[in-house]
């Protein structure tokens, strides 16, 4: 039955729609075909006319070829299936058929030729061609037929196919619409019938008294209304039926209860119950049997007097009580007291209540029998105790009046104490209210009990009440566990001092607070609450952290300083010890030429450059890396958590690229570069300082190789650094202990073959016995600053030896001989302003004549800082000391310097001397030596040739007029003792050993 309505409706709709769709499609396809045909015909006409009109001249001309060219072009346009041109004589002049003009067309042309009126207007018709296709054929006269005819054919196949397509499309559309409507109708009808079906089901359920289900049909139409009323109706019916059933059940239950309780009462009451009718026992209860101690026989139906005796029998039958009573009082009980006798024969008093009750079998007496032996006894005892009680009450009343008097006195005293307490509390409340510190009380569970206005102010609340209200809901601490820590401390210690934490104000701003609190206990030691003070220490904290930052950061760039860097480095080293896969690298960077920039452009630009560099470094690094400035232009970088060593290399490249980019500071272009030292293998270090030192060493190696490079620290550098350090320590010690030795290289006058002086040389034998040449340790000494004590020592020693030489000369009778002791002074030392004073002091100490001494300096001395060098030179000359330029010709000094510095001797470098008297001619050296000799002679300078080793060289020098020479040819450097002996031998007059 279900859905039958739906099916019927759907079938009906299908039928109606189907008929409509078919009719519409047929109609529209017919109209379309008609329209298309008309359109095609119109187009064919238009085409024919355009060919005829557009090519009139050609058509009139005799050239069939030209006509063919024209119609070929027309046909290529696509619409036409053929074109035929017929001349005025009716001959086909040109056509586009292959292989021949179809018969139908030929017939038509022939037909036109016969018709007189054909030449007036165009003729249109449908022709069927040989191959079975249909065409729309148009014959268009040219110049009214005088110029012939243009025939064109247009295939109707496009019309047919367009029509078929249109009909098909129409049908498809109708079908689609039909299906959509059907679906909608199906859904719509189904929604209605489904509701109806559900309602029907519901109604049958209600009819079967099943109210458990409900009908969920809801809508605001008629069905919805019907469903609503059905639901209401069913509800009412269900109510009535339920009410009825409940009432019946209740009544039955009540009845059952009454009956049960009644029989229970009867069975359990302590009094005996007896129902008598006509003097016979009708009913009784067990209490009665017990009361009379009767045997366990059935008593019902037995006569009363036989069981209970006459007295009782009479009482129960109403004979005693009813005497003198009106008859018309059924139900109302009568009380009688009689003496009864038990089965054992014992007598006892019994009280009997008799009520007359009409029963089905006639009137009966219902009697309650009570053994009143105990009652009688009790009555007697009660009389006794009442007398006793009255006595006791009288006594108690007296005691009470005494206590009352006492109490009144106490109340008066307590009033006095209370007044004192109130005054104290007022005082403390004032303190509490007006204190600067926040004061609070909290319960041991951490709930705020009270607070003062100062505390509210600290936390940014308007009143203490608001504060307490707010803090009882949320903890003020930023750290969530802070309250628990506070309470735990409190409970354990009993008090809290300087408990500092971060807290949140009402506005959300975080402040630092310090709390002091103690526990308040009652007399029994139970915690009442905690009370304490709060102080806002935010300012102090901020100051502290600022100080901390300043202590660990460089003020110029804001980068970490050495301290913080070392700290980070230490942490990184520790992490690397714990985690083997943790890699890090330390980089040390120094800007090249920073000092020049700083000196030449000013500190301001120097500082800006440093800030720029630090910015670049930070930008190149990651957030985990530490970039620190160690002061000056030194930076250190700690790269942590590297995946591979090449990360550090890549970082270095980037940094160097970044830094070497030209930059404009205060309108000046500044270019700098950096040198980087890298320590990649950080495993073997215990101390961060050692790591830094090696990075520094690597950086120096990088710098030594050129600017803008980086160098990774390796073991070789380590050894070199160590070696150099050891050498430095030993040299320092050697200078300090004076364990260096001086030797003296003779300078000879080659023209007179005599000794003309010595050059003082220093020798150092290391602890391991190795002789270190000056060329090795002098640069080290210059670099490390040992040169100052070294030169001092040498000068002081040389002065003393020179003094000895003077004495020896005097002894040899040569006191006024031309004799000079040369002493080397480092170029670095020459710039020292204290030099002159030191030298003066040393000469004074040995009492040596300044004119017997000459200082040897290198050309570079004259070049650096010309002004001060000139001053020093002048002072030395004033003292009387000679000045000699060593290795002359190898440097870059201008000849004019020689004059300006009042030099009195030059030494020709051994390289030029070595070039003399070679087998292959070295004209350059020869020329240089010769010109130097000439120059010396011209300027009045002593000229000394160094490194003379062969007789040939000597011959040359002599021939050139050079006066002084020194070299192995004459003698090796001699110890002081041998030098003295040489002088004593009179070599200053004439040297016996002269070659």
């Amino acid at each position: 039955m279900r859905g039958r309505l739906l099916t019927k409706l759907l079938l009906f709709l299908m039928a109606v729609f189907g008929v409509m769709a078919t009719a519409t499609a047929l109609l529209s396809s017919r109209e379309l075909a008609h329209a298309l045909e008309n359109e095609y015909k119109a187009r064919a006409m238009a085409l024919a006319r355009s060919i005829a009109d557009g090519n009139t001249e050609l058509l009139l001309g005799q050239s069939a070829g030209n006509i063919q060219a024209a119609i070929d072009q027309h046909q290529e346009m696509g619409d036409l299936s053929y074109i035929v041109i017929v001349n005025a004589q009716g001959e086909v002049v040109a056509h586009t058929f292959t292989p021949v003009v179809p018969r139908a067309v030929r017939q038509f042309i022939a037909e036109l030729r016969g018709r007189a009126d054909a030449s007036l207007q165009s003729d249109i018709r449908t022709l069927s061609l040989d191959d079975g296709s249909e065409v729309i054929h148009v014959a268009q006269p040219v110049l009214g037929g005088r110029g012939g005819f243009v025939h064109i054919g247009m295939n109707t196949e496009p019309i047919q196919s367009a029509m078929a397509t249109a009909i098909l499309r129409q049908h498809m559309l109708s079908l689609a619409v039909f299906l959509v409507c059907l679906a909608v109708a199906f859904l719509f009808i189904r929604s209605i019938t489904r509701k109806l079906a559900r309602l029907a089901d519901y109604a049958s359920e209600v009819a079967a008294h099943d109210f458990s289900t409900s009908c969920d049909v809801r809508s605001n139409d008629e069905i919805g209304g019907l469903a609503d009323s059905m639901r209401a109706m069913a509800g009412q019916i269900a109510g009535h039926v339920g009410q009825l059933e409940r009432t019946v059940a209740e009544a039955t239950l009540e009845l059952k209860d009454a009956l049960g309780s009644l029989s229970a009462i009867v069975g359990n009451i302590a009094d005996g119950l007896l129902v008598v009718q006509n003097g016979r026992i009708l009913q009784y209860n067990p209490a009665l049997v017990r009361m009379f101690a009767l045997p366990e026989d059935e008593l019902t139906g037995r006569p009363c007097d036989e069981v209970f005796g006459t007295q009782v029998s009479r009482a129960v039958s109403g004979a005693l009580a009813l005497q003198g009573l009106p008859e018309d009082a059924p139900g109302s009980a009568q009380l009688v007291e009689v003496q009864a006798r038990r089965a054992s024969g014992q007598e006892f008093p019994v009280e009997i209540a008799v009520a007359r009750v009409p029963l089905a079998g006639g009137e009966a007496n219902v009697c309650i029998l009570r053994d009143i032996t105990a009652t009688k006894q009790l009555e007697y005892e009660r009389e006794e105790s009442r007398a006793l009680l009255e006595r006791m009450v009288a006594e108690r009343t007296r005691e009470l009046s005494r206590a009352n008097t006492q109490l009144k006195i106490e109340v008066a005293e307590r009033k006095v104490v209370g007044d004192a307490l109130r005054r104290a509390e007022g005082k403390f409340r004032g303190i509490f209210e007006n204190a600067v510190e926040g004061i609070f009380q909290i319960s041991p569970e951490g709930r705020y009990i009270s607070a003062n206005p100062a505390m509210a102010l600290i936390f940014g609340y308007d009143s203490p009440e608001e504060l307490v209200q707010a803090l009882s809901q949320t903890s003020p601490y930023v750290e969530p566990m802070r309250r628990e820590i506070f309470l735990e401390l409190m409970e354990r210690e009993g008090e809290v001092q300087g408990f500092e934490s971060q807290a949140r104000r009402k506005s959300g701003r975080v402040i630092w607070i310090s709390e002091n609190a103690r526990k308040v206990v009652d007399l029994s030691g139970k915690t009442l609450h905690y009370e304490g003070f709060v102080e806002d220490i935010t300012l102090r904290k901020e100051a502290e952290s600022r100080l901390l930052h300043q202590a660990f950061h460089d003020p110029l760039t804001g980068l970490p300083n050495r301290l913080l860097f070392l700290d980070h480095l230490r942490m990184a080293m520790e992490r690397a010890r714990r985690r083997p896969d943790f890699r890090f690298a330390v980089l040390y960077m120094d800007l090249d030429r920073f000092k020049i920039i700083n000196d030449s452009l000013g500190h301001d630009i120097g500082d800006k450059l440093l800030r720029h560099v630090s910015g670049s470094l930070v930008a190149c690094g990651r957030s985990t890396d530490t970039v620190a400035r160690f002061g000056g232009d030194e930076f250190a970088i700690l790269l942590e958590d590297l995946t591979a060593p090449r990360d550090a290399i890549r970082f270095s490249r980037r940094v160097l690229d970044e830094i070497s980019r030209p930059l404009e500071l205060d309108g000046r272009e500044v270019t700098t570069s950096g040198s980087l030292g890298i320590v990649l293998h950080t495993g073997g270090y215990d101390r961060p300082e050692a790591l830094l030192r090696d990075a520094d060493t690597a950086m120096y190696h990088a710098k030594a190789q050129g600017k803008g490079r980086f160098k990774v620290f390796n073991q070789r550098m380590h050894h070199q650094a160590q070696e150099l350090m050891e050498l430095e320590i030993e040299l320092r010690r050697a200078v300090g202990q004076g364990s260096l030795t001086l030797v003296f290289q003779p300078i000879v006058d080659i023209q007179a073959s005599r000794l003309a002086g010595f050059e003082t040389l220093v020798r150092w034998k290391r602890d391991n016995g190795r002789d270190i040449p000056p060329s090795e340790f002098i640069p080290l000494a210059e670099e490390t600053g040992i040169i100052y004590p070294l030169d001092h020592w040498v000068f002081a020693q040389a002065c003393c030896v020179a003094k000895d030489f003077e004495s020896a000369l005097a002894e040899a009778g040569q006191a006024d001989a031309d004799f000079v002791t040369n002493i080397n002074i480092s170029a670095k030392h020459f710039r020292n302003p204290m030099l002159v004073g030191h030298l003066e002091q040393a000469m004074h100490a040995c009492k040596v004549r300044p004119s017997s001494l000459s200082l040897e300096i290198t050309e570079s001395v004259l070049l650096d800082n010309v002004h001060s060098a000139r001053e020093t030179a002048a002072k030395l000359r004033e003292l009387g000391l000679g000045l000699c330029i060593d290795d002359f010709g190898t440097g870059y000094s201008s000849l004019s310097y020689i004059q300006r510095f009042s030099v009195n001797a030059i030494k020709i470098d051994r390289a030029f001397v070595a070039g003399l008297a070679l087998e292959e001619l070295d004209l350059g050296s020869e020329a240089i030596v010769r010109s130097l000799v000439t120059l010396g002679a011209g300027l009045g300078l002593k000229v000394v040739a160094e490194g003379v080793e062969t007789l040939e060289q000597l011959g040359f020098l002599r021939e050139m007029g050079c006066r002084y020479a020194q070299g192995y040819l004459f003698a090796m450097p001699l110890p002081a003792q041998q030098a003295l002996e040489l002088i004593a031998s009179g070599a200053t007059r004439r040297w016996e050993g002269f070659p």
Partner: protein, 382 residues
């Protein structure tokens, strides 16, 4: 040069190009024409009018050629003609197209087109005259359904009218036919008119296929083809077919030509052509040969190309130091009759008498394996 270098009609383009190049190389080897070296730009149109149009636009606007030379085919050249007129302001000349179509010889085109060969009207007129003289009066025409075919058809029609005759029947075929195409239906239509001579106006493969089917249908009278049918390629098809079928298709087949037979070495032009071809380096344009083609050592079309090349060289040699297109046109107007080494001189001046006037009839001598000129068709039998 825009011509068919691919497709069924590619033989014409190839041969004409070879002839032109032979002339160019001949001229260039002698130091050029008046010092100017001649060179030829090529584009393939596959005998398609639309492609020819595109090629011409490219030649004029992209390549900026000096002149358009050696276009092949009537429909293609006919389509290009309005375009050349459009370019008239830049004085581009269309020189020596390989077509005898009427419209190229119209007075309206004088100046911008220069023809060397005789027209189809002249060819058909001579052919019909020779046929009528040989007693053949039932003449049918099988022609291509386009301008070329219609020109030939028109020529035959007019020539017959001069003799008071009309063609007995006609049939057409669509352009682009290959040798494999079946023409038995067309043959049937033609034979319905009981002709004693059939003139075919088509391309080499189409004419060859038609003759094959014509002979196959038992037709034992004369058949003739125009110069554009490319006699050398046509007989190549028929010889190959003859070898397969074991019969001779070449008997009774007359070729109308616009140049003398290249076997006639009495003519200086023929001698020069044969000499040039023996030296020629260019066998075919390599970049334009998607389809296989074996060139002939010598051919009528090639000979025509050679003559056209010489004619151009003659004009170019007069250009002087400052050549221009206008000057080229002017030279053609004033050149006078040019001796190309033929029996007649070629007058290249614009006008109705422009170009060569004579046409020639040739047949293929199967026994000797070569073409030979023929004056009287009476002795020519299948």
């Amino acid at each position: 040069m825009s011509a068919a270098f691919s497709g069924p009609a590619r033989g014409l383009g190839m041969e004409y190009h070879r002839g032109l190049m032979a002339a160019f190389e001949h001229v260039n080897a002698q130091g050029g024409a008046g010092g100017w070296r001649l060179s030829l730009a090529l584009r393939d149109d596959a005998y398609d009018p639309a492609a020819a149009m595109r090629n011409t636009i490219a030649f004029v606007e992209q390549d900026r050629v000096f002149a358009l030379l050696g276009y092949v085919g009537t429909p293609t050249t006919a389509r290009v003609l309005p375009l050349v007129k459009h370019y008239d302001h830049s004085s581009v000349s269309l020189l020596f197209p390989l077509t005898g179509a009427d419209m190229l010889r119209a007075t309206t085109n004088e100046g911008c087109v220069c023809n060397l060969r005789a027209s189809y009207l002249a060819e058909t007129r001579n052919l019909v005259q020779a046929l009528v003289a040989a007693g053949r009066k039932r003449i049918a025409v099988f022609h291509q359904a386009d301008v070329y075919g219609r020109n030939g058809w028109d020529g035959v029609r007019r020539a017959l009218a001069e003799h008071g005759l009309s063609m007995v029947c006609e049939a057409t075929y669509r352009r682009g036919a290959v040798f494999g195409q079946d023409f038995r239906r067309e043959v049937e239509i033609i034979l319905a008119g009981k002709p004693d001579a059939v003139i075919t106006v088509g391309t080499a493969p189409a004419c060859a296929a038609f003759v094959r089917d014509l002979r196959g249908a038992g037709y034992a009278e004369l058949a003739a083809a125009l110069s554009f049918a490319d006699a050398d390629n046509l007989i190549a098809f028929l010889l190959a077919q003859g070898r397969v079928a074991g019969r001779n298709y070449l008997g009774g087949l007359v070729f109308s030509q616009v140049v003398p037979c290249y076997e006639d070495e009495t003519l200086p032009a023929v001698r020069a052509y044969r000499q040039a071809m023996s030296r020629v380096k260019v066998t075919r344009p390599p970049q334009m040969s998607p389809d296989e083609y074996t060139p002939h050592r010598l051919s009528f079309v090639g000979f025509e190309g050679f003559l056209a090349g010489l004619a151009l060289a003659e004009a170019v040699s007069r250009l002087g130091p400052q050549p221009s297109r206008e000057r080229l046109r002017m030279i053609f107007e004033t050149l006078g009759a040019v001796d190309l080494g033929l029996a007649e001189k070629a007058d290249l001046r614009p006008g109705p008498d422009q170009g060569l006037k004579r046409t020639y009839l040739t047949i293929y001598d199967s026994r000797r394996g070569r073409f030979q000129g023929v004056a009287d068709l009476r002795g020519v039998l299948p």
